[in-house]
């Protein structure tokens, strides 16, 4: 749900940002266009016509009898200016001097007419006027140079215009913001069940959403997906269960005949009426049947661990004691005196780790360590020295098994995660599975001269201290 809220928040911020950017862009474009137009179309030229120029032209008027004449310099200035025509009106409103005066421009004006065109146009010609030496000089510009729009504004409005502009902008942004939040909230409301559904789906739970509203289509698809996933999960669970049960069944069926093989071979191996050779043969059968028993148990356990059918029975466990038990078991059960002589076990446990107490499934751990030690023994029939050390890292505790024999071959290490490789390493795989259910893993340590030793790491779930 947090992720959905984040999405909505980001969406609202983005929408706000986009609107601000659009407003700023609009302002810039407007200003740009205004400036460009003024520059290109003449508005600016009109504004640039200075009063100074007009005054200089006005100063060039000379009286000539009863009329007025513009000097040569004045005429030159007029030629170079932006004006297209000009006239000088006397106090009566009569044009006493004219320059390129168009036909439609009258030559006599009343006071009202003068007052009118002085602020506006004269026959569509934008005009500029100047009073100079008793004359009213009227300069006409090209009609296409500038447009003027008259606006009547109260002084209060004009005075408060910046504040109004700010308020206008603020109100606009507020309304936009409210709409963004409102739509965001509605969108959030519509998407929330979908997001919850996705989260449930990710957690492996079934999903059943109402297929209506904005996200109705999505909800429908989600319901469909959930149904399909649930069906697949059920099929997988049924298959896993069937497989586990099948393995359990096979191992069960093997157990009874194996009991007979083991029991009778054991009795024969101790039967004094038989020759030593026959007793040895019986002993061999007994030993092999023990291996088969171990394999069946491993196979059964490994399938239960793979299909998560093995509940973890966590209890207080001392790894140091577990190692000693395991090695003792090898002497007590697996190895007779002749065999035992070929193998030497060395246990290395620091004073600190000797006291370590963890929460773990002791039975499973014992099996894993047995498998690691058994690996050293099984693959070195000529005998070897096996060293087992208890080691630790931050939050982890490890069982490090090294031997002076051949070491674990590279093929085994490479194919640990590949059950289809055909390499028979069930014992090590089982140890790996046990390590994994204890939050750890197997680590293979390469020897300088080839071959590997193995470390089994598990999470150090320290025992709660007793009050």
């Amino acid at each position: 749900m947090k992720s959905l809220f984040r999405i909505i928040r980001r969406y609202s911020l983005m929408a706000g940002l986009i609107i601000v950017i659009i407003l700023v862009c609009n302002g810039c474009i407007l200003l740009g266009i205004g400036y460009y137009t003024a520059e290109q179309e003449g508005g600016d030229k009109y504004a640039k016509i200075s009063v100074g120029l007009m005054e200089r032209i006005g100063a060039e008027f000379q009286t000539e009898g009863e009329g007025y004449q513009l000097s040569e310099t004045g005429g030159k200035l007029l030629e170079e200016s932006e004006f297209v025509w000009a006239m000088a009106l006397d106090g009566e409103g009569t044009a006493v001097w004219k320059w390129r005066l168009p036909k439609e421009i009258k030559e006599r004006y009343s006071i009202q007419e003068v007052a009118s065109f002085s602020r506006w146009y004269l026959e569509d010609y934008p005009v500029k006027i100047l009073s100079s030496g008793g004359l009213l000089l009227v300069f006409g510009c090209d009609p296409g140079m500038i447009g003027r729009h008259s606006l009547l504004v109260s002084p209060v409005l004009l005075k408060n215009a910046p504040a109004y502009a700010r308020m206008f902008l603020f109100l606009n942004l507020l309304i936009i913001g409210i709409f963004i939040l409102w739509f965001g909230y509605r969108f959030y409301g519509a998407m929330r069940p979908v997001a919850e559904g996705i989260e449930q789906l990710a957690a492996g739970k079934p999903v059943r959403l109402e297929e209506k509203g904005l996200a109705g289509g999505l909800a429908e698809k989600l319901n469909e997906t959930s149904g399909r996933l649930m069906a697949q999960n059920e099929a997988l669970a049924r298959r896993d269960f069937a497989r586990t049960e099948w393995i359990a069944g096979v191992s069960h069926d093997i157990r009874t005949p194996l009991s007979l093989i083991m029991g009778h071979s054991d009795r024969l191996s101790r039967d004094g009426t038989l020759t030593r050779e026959h007793r040895m043969l019986a002993e061999n059968i007994r030993r092999q049947s023990l291996i088969i028993r171990q394999l069946i148990t491993d196979l059964n356990l490994t399938s239960r661990l793979v299909y998560q059918a093995q509940p973890l029975k966590q209890s207080k466990c001392l790894p140091a004691s577990l190692i000693r038990n395991c090695v003792s078991d090898f002497y007590n059960e697996g190895l007779d005196t002749e065999e035992a002589a070929k193998y030497e076990f060395e246990i290395i446990i620091s004073e600190e780790l000797e006291q370590t107490c963890i929460e773990a499934d002791e039975g499973l751990l014992l099996r894993a360590v047995r498998n690691l030690l058994g690996n050293s023994i099984r693959h070195n029939p000529a005998g070897c020295r096996v060293k087992i050390s208890l080691i630790s890292q931050v939050g982890k505790i490890g069982f490090f098994v090294q031997d002076t024999g051949a070491g674990i071959p590279e093929t085994v290490v490479i194919n640990m995660e590949n059950p289809e490789s055909g390499v028979h390493i069930m014992g090590l795989r089982l140890a790996d599975q046990i390590a994994k259910v204890h939050g750890g893993r197997l680590e293979f340590v390469e020897r300088p001269k080839g071959g590997y030793d193995v470390r089994m790491w598990i999470a150090e779930n320290t025992c709660p201290t007793e009050a």
Binding site: L258, G263, D266, S321, R324
Partner: protein, 234 residues
Amino acid sequence: MELYERKIMAVDDHRGIRQLIDGILREHGFTRVILAGNGEEAMRLFLAEKPELVILDIMLPGEDGFTLFQKMREKENVPILFLSAKDGDEDRLLGLGLGADDYLTKPFLPEELVLRIHAILKRTYRVTEEREKSFCIGNREILPERALVRYKEREVPLTAKELLLLAKLNENRGRIVTFDALCGAVWGDSYYGYENTLMVHIRHLREKIEEDPSHPRWLLTARGLGYRLVKEDA
């Protein structure tokens, strides 16, 4: 009554297994063994023969072992050991949860079965036979009830802790008993730090049971692991 005179009944639908159990028990000195192949026969023999220990399979034709167990317990509170090919934890827990004395999974080693039967019989009937009470280590006789080691008319007392250690070692005679198991037997669960004390007790024990304590013949050290009391016939 002698331990080996106790009447033991084995119930298993597989004739081979019945014969195997019969052979193992007789070989180990048990003389009164009754065999049954199904629930009906088992109940009939149970009521008629009144066995003192029952070895019971779980998967039987007709009534299963768990049902049979409950029926037998309703009649008589005899010790029952489940011997089954069902190795699941749930079956083991169900069996022990019902109140069975032990649960052994097939395939089993004959010695395993015999040791468990011994333990159950000793626990249930608190065997008082002389041969169970005292035991020999070489030419020395250990008398646990009197906490003594007897040797050539001489009697040497054993301390309580030495007696506990010796009992634990004798229970597992021929096998290595780890420091942890020995310390646990003497000092309980919180035994850490008692290893050195254990060594002192073992030294004193050797002085009492060995001809030459510096070169022990019976109470041997398994380096880094624990101690082993050598079997009489070794």
